[in-house]
């Protein structure tokens, strides 16, 4: 099939949109931390982006998308983008192979950025760089291969349209694991660590919501009705999640704007694997449920005094898990040929549950080990004094002066 200009146009811009999500994560998290770590938090996202961009070109893409080694990982035949060119590739009949590669790349980068939640305000920059290089290679790349590169999950028939498992379960539970290894911020639970700049978090949320259209509707790899469906359900799930969290938190206290956008992100996360399979009305149910579940997960985390404070776990991890199950429940044959539980297809639900669980366990376990190793050999964490003055000064020699 020849390259289609319309499809290519859509994927070019969708890739750019997803790229914007990485700084989006940076600003989202940056507004949540204390002022002395604002620059650090954004910088981590940029570094994740740059690092994974390079890793992907050298080996990541090959590990995920070239061939298959035991259902677990690809091979090295596309190393350094060898054989990935301007003509259509095996995964992308209507767009250039290089563009498919780029679209997949920005997924890997944003996943790395999401994980920084678990390290906020206390990670040593050099250790983060080493950890990130390991993580993207040993956690992200295998998972992406399982689900999209012809690995065992794909062979089993797991549905994950835009990466609920690969991106969100992995990063959410990864963030949890690393937060356990690195330990809570000093003073956590003893005194308030209020978000210092909610408007920046709202800006990040706006960029994320905007970019997510590329993420989900771009995953149709076409500019067609399926992309339109993905676009619409993405937005309705997000809106429903936002309202659900807003009202739920209102019931318990004040309806914070942070709650609202957290609910929006929860909806976006949950619809991610489902967006190519479900109808708009189902997406509202998925979104509302995501808002409520993730809100509950956050309350649970807080009760447990767990310092995973930008809530990658509660929102991406739990939301991603719910999304994987929801896909197995709500998939409607009318949308994309696949049926879920509601249409009587128990098998699909079970497959999706198994794959999500496997990913969860793999991501949590391997992240824990990697974090533990980096911690042992380099120290994941800055010194107490460095933490006290803040990472902006201690890691970057910069500060906000406004």
């Amino acid at each position: 099939m020849a390259i289609d200009t319309g499809t290519t146009a859509w994927l070019l811009i969708a890739t750019a949109l997803v790229m914007l999500m990485t700084p989006g994560v940076g600003f989202f998290y940056g507004g949540l931390v204390r002022k002395k770590n604002f620059i650090s938090m954004i910088a981590l996202s940029f570094i994740a982006f740059a690092l994974v961009s390079i890793q992907w070109v050298f080996i990541g893409y090959s590990l995920v998308f070239s061939g298959d080694t035991g259902g677990f990982i690809g091979n090295l035949s596309n190393l350094g983008l060898e054989g990935v060119g301007m003509e259509a590739g095996p995964y992308s009949p209507a767009i250039p192979g290089l563009l498919y590669m780029a679209f997949q790349m920005v997924f890997a980068t944003v996943t790395m950025a999401i994980i920084t939640s678990g390290l906020a305000e206390r990670v040593k920059l050099s250790s983060f760089i080493v950890f990130a290089a390991l993580w993207t290679t040993l956690v992200y790349d295998p998972l992406a291969h399982w689900v999209w590169g012809g690995g065992w999950a794909q062979q089993m028939g797991a549905l994950d349209f835009a990466g609920g498992t690969v991106v969100h379960i992995s990063s959410g539970f990864g963030a949890l694991a690393i937060a356990l290894v690195i330990g809570a911020r000093s003073g956590y639970g003893k005194y308030m660590m209020e978000p210092h700049n909610i408007p920046m978090t709202l800006l990040g949320a706006a960029l994320l919501w905007f970019g997510w259209f590329g993420f989900n509707a771009g995953s149709a790899l076409a500019a067609n009705g399926l992309a339109a469906n993905a676009f619409v359900v993405t937005n309705t799930a997000a809106a429903a999640g936002a309202l659900a969290w807003l009202f739920a938190s209102w019931y318990h206290g004040k309806p914070s704007s942070l709650g609202m956008v957290s609910g929006g992100i929860a909806g976006l996360v949950a619809i991610t694997p489902a967006c190519g399979y479900v109808t708009p009305l189902a997406s509202i149910v998925i979104g509302v449920t995501a808002g409520l579940i993730c809100y509950g997960a956050m309350l649970f985390r807080m009760r447990k005094n767990l310092d995973e404070s930008c809530d990658a776990w509660a929102i991406h991890g739990v939301g991603g898990l719910w999304g994987a199950l929801a896909t197995g429940i709500f998939a409607a044959a009318a949308v994309n040929g696949a049926s879920g539980l509601l249409e009587g297809n128990v098998h699909q639900f079970v497959v999706n549950a198994i794959c999500a669980l496997a990913a969860l366990i793999y991501a949590f376990g391997v992240t824990y080990i990697l974090a533990w190793l980096v911690n042992k050999f380099m120290g994941l964490r800055v010194s107490e004094d460095e933490e006290y003055v803040g990472l902006d000064i201690s890691q970057h020699g910069e500060r906000i002066n406004a």
Binding site: K36, G187, K190, Y191, M192, S383, D385, E386, Y388, V389, I393, S394, G397
Partner: protein, 109 residues
């Protein structure tokens, strides 16, 4: 009357505020400041060299009190603000000759 100026760790401020409140001392004024103490700030090791961060954000709490309450309030503040580590801060006391409530124009004793 006396003015207490306590320059403390920002993260201890809530404790100080609460301690005063529990003793029915409500009036206070807070300012964000930066300070350097006798320890010259915090020294960060940095690849062989070192960097001195000599201005640390602090919280200045001002409370104007009656002479007779001075010692009690000082004790409250010190206890609530102390962590025992370098950087706990300083308190300065100085005389205030008049205190006026703007709303009423009344002098306070």
């Amino acid at each position: 009357m006396q003015k207490i100026e306590a320059i403390i760790r920002p993260e201890r401020f809530e404790f100080v505020k609460k301690a005063l409140e529990e003793n029915k001392i409500y009036g206070l004024t807070v300012t964000d400041v930066q300070g350097r103490g006798d320890q010259k700030g915090i020294v960060l090791q940095y690849r062989g060299g070192e960097i001195i961060v000599d201005l640390i954000p602090k919280c200045k709490v001002e409370v104007v009190v009656k002479d007779k309450d001075l010692q009690m309030i000082l004790d409250l503040i010190i206890n609530a603000a102390r962590t025992g580590k370098i950087g706990d801060g300083r308190i300065f006391v100085s005389p205030v000759s008049k205190s006026i409530r703007v709303r009423t124009g009344d002098f306070e004793k």
